[in-house]
Amino acid sequence: MGIAFENQLAAPQLPSRPAYGDNQTGTHLPERAGSLNGVIVPEQPGKNAIEVRGVRKVFGTGENQVAALDTVSVSIRENEFFTLLGPSGCGKTTLLRLIAGFDFPTAGEILLHGQDIAPLPPFKRPVNTVFQSYALFPHMTVAQNIGFGLEMLGKARAEIEARVAQMLKLVKMEALKARRTSEISGGQQQRVALARALAPQPKVLLLDEPLSALDYKLRKEMQIELKRLQHETGITFIFVTHDQEEALTMSDRIAVMSAGKILQVGTPRDIYDRPAERFVADFIGETNFLPGTVVSKQAGVATVKFASSATISAGYPEGFDPTGEVTLVVRPEHADLVPDPAKGTIAGTLANIVYFGTDTHYHVKLDGGGENFIVRHQNSRSSPVTYATGAKVGIQFEEDAARVLKD
């Protein structure tokens, strides 16, 4: 198992992989078995890189107490690109800081390959962070920044130089290695921050909204770059963001957070297509909310009646028992317009047409009232039907398009 674990982590262009266990230099003896310069070496490699168990974090005292994290549990697998997604103040950065060791949990455990690291200071955790502000050391060159972690681990000079050269190549910054960090652009600083955090070959790389300071085009480039780096290094990435699009495109799995809790953990497709709660559906992508009444239900499928007396069958998440008045959610691209109002599940008047280039949004004022329903239609070179505002239209749903969700 131990050998398999090392191999799994080994990236083709990163030789001498067992970074924390080995001590080729002979000049810096580990302080104790299973550690290098006091940094722990997890001894029981398992399937989960990080396991967060019942972690609570309370800030303030007395009446001013705020629970930034309210009993959160989540497992992050080996080699996974895992994203913590949520609006600001949801606790995602707090969780990241607890894993990094900048804060200690009020209660609960954080396991790294089975070993509780929650009480350890940051400099004893084989976990590195890419900060939102990059936090590059301004008095050092690019190369000195990248080598800092290895130097602190007590690696030999030759090894540090070799690893720094590898990292410079990995992030394509060889030409600028002697520059001060204040003399390079934002995108370049971002690359240096990544290289610096990857150089000591951490078990887990933490990324705190690292792309938020970049402009749109550079951000898109770095998203692909990050996926490549994760693939090439085989390191578990934990990525924090409030940008749902970024989360969907980059992640293997996403945890959606709100108000100190994790609401749902799943693949991007799970989260988008089968949101567990109304908040998740609302936060990720665009969603239509439709009021209705549950008529009957059977094996995870409810029959819901609209005000127009049309009915529709809709799935609902496990462990939720919808009754009476409910809200249905339908993604705009899972609905279609039909010219004949009678042929649609629901009907309304076309209030607005918004052209987006790749697709067109039709805003339909429903006959039953309420918020406008949005239908997204992908544009093709020959759109068969053209609609005009003010026209009476019907809305059809694709199969499994509608879901009943907890409010």
Binding site: N37, G38, V39, A100, G101, F102, P121, P122, F123, K124, V127, N128, T129, F131, S133, A135, L136, F137, P138, H139, F148, G149, M152, L153, R196, A197, P200
Partner: protein, 270 residues
């Protein structure tokens, strides 16, 4: 002319006149002092011609040498000791969890800036008289060094603290994240980034100590004449432009240190 969008004080009537009067009041006396250091006559009020002779006289003056030596011993020692104390105090008050009495400690450190100097001088004098009387202790020039160190601390403290507060704490987190122990993080990250603040603080402490008169006058014992005291003693006799020359030298040293402090501060702002 277009209407100004915001008020510009330069457009107010009389602004230029008032500014010029202020500048003249501030600098004309100093300028006259400097010009008369070049007077070939022996009066500081009657111009006769140009000479550098008085600088020569000053440089050959044994008393001036002794005073300069005393001043340097006191100022340099007080600067080093007070800068170290101020650095430790600033770190202890910015890189800690807030503790009860933090505000009080801040006040205590800065109090010497607010206490009238003559009060500090009298208090220091009585203190040294007391320990001399009770314990029979007299540190000689050490008395002056001690007194200077104490009143230099708040001057050194201010720029160092400002620098620490400006510094991005994330840098220290990043160092810890990259396996630096708290001591390594301090030595490799915090301290190098703090150097401009420390230099600036030391430069301030040096000028404050270098030209101190009130406290020094009361505390100094025989043979402990510093440059400001020497000048004071000279002007009670018939004055010659030698005093102007000595004063000009002092002024140049002060300007040098203020400039160094300013340049360092400007570099760190970049």
């Amino acid at each position: 002319m277009a209407e100004p969008r915001v008020m510009d004080i330069k457009d107010q009537p009389g602004f230029r006149t008032i500014a010029i009067i202020c500048l003249l009041v501030l600098y004309v006396p100093v300028l006259i002092l400097m010009i008369f250091s070049l007077n070939s006559g022996s009066l500081v009020t009657h111009w006769e011609g140009v000479t550098l002779g008085w600088y020569g006289t000053a440089f050959l003056n044994e008393e001036f040498h002794a005073a300069a030596r005393n001043t340097l011993i006191i100022s340099v020692t007080a600067t080093i000791v007070s800068t170290i104390c101020a650095t430790l105090a600033a770190i202890g008050m910015t890189r800690v969890k807030p503790w009860r009495g933090l505000a009080a400690a801040f006040m205590v450190i800065n109090l010497p800036l607010m206490v009238p100097e003559i009060i500090t001088a009298v208090a220091t004098l009585s203190f040294f008289a007391l320990i001399a009387g009770v314990f029979g202790l007299n540190f000689g020039i050490g008395n002056l060094i001690l007194a200077h160190t104490v009143f230099c601390i708040p001057f050194a403290y201010m720029p160092i603290r400002a620098r620490l507060e400006d510094m991005d704490l994330t840098l220290e987190y990043a160092a810890a994240d990259l396996y630096a122990t708290p001591w390594s993080a301090f030595r490799r990250i915090t301290l190098p980034l703090l150097v401009p603040g420390i230099m600036s603080g030391a430069a301030l402490a040096f000028i404050v100590s270098f030209d101190d008169f009130t406290i020094t006058q009361l505390v100094a014992g025989p043979g402990q004449t510093t440059l400001p005291l020497y000048i004071w003693n000279q002007i009670r006799r018939p004055m010659t432009p030698e005093i102007n020359a000595i004063s000009t030298i002092l002024l140049m040293v002060s300007i040098l240190f203020v400039s160094v402090s300013f340049l360092i501060a400007r570099r760190r702002a970049k």
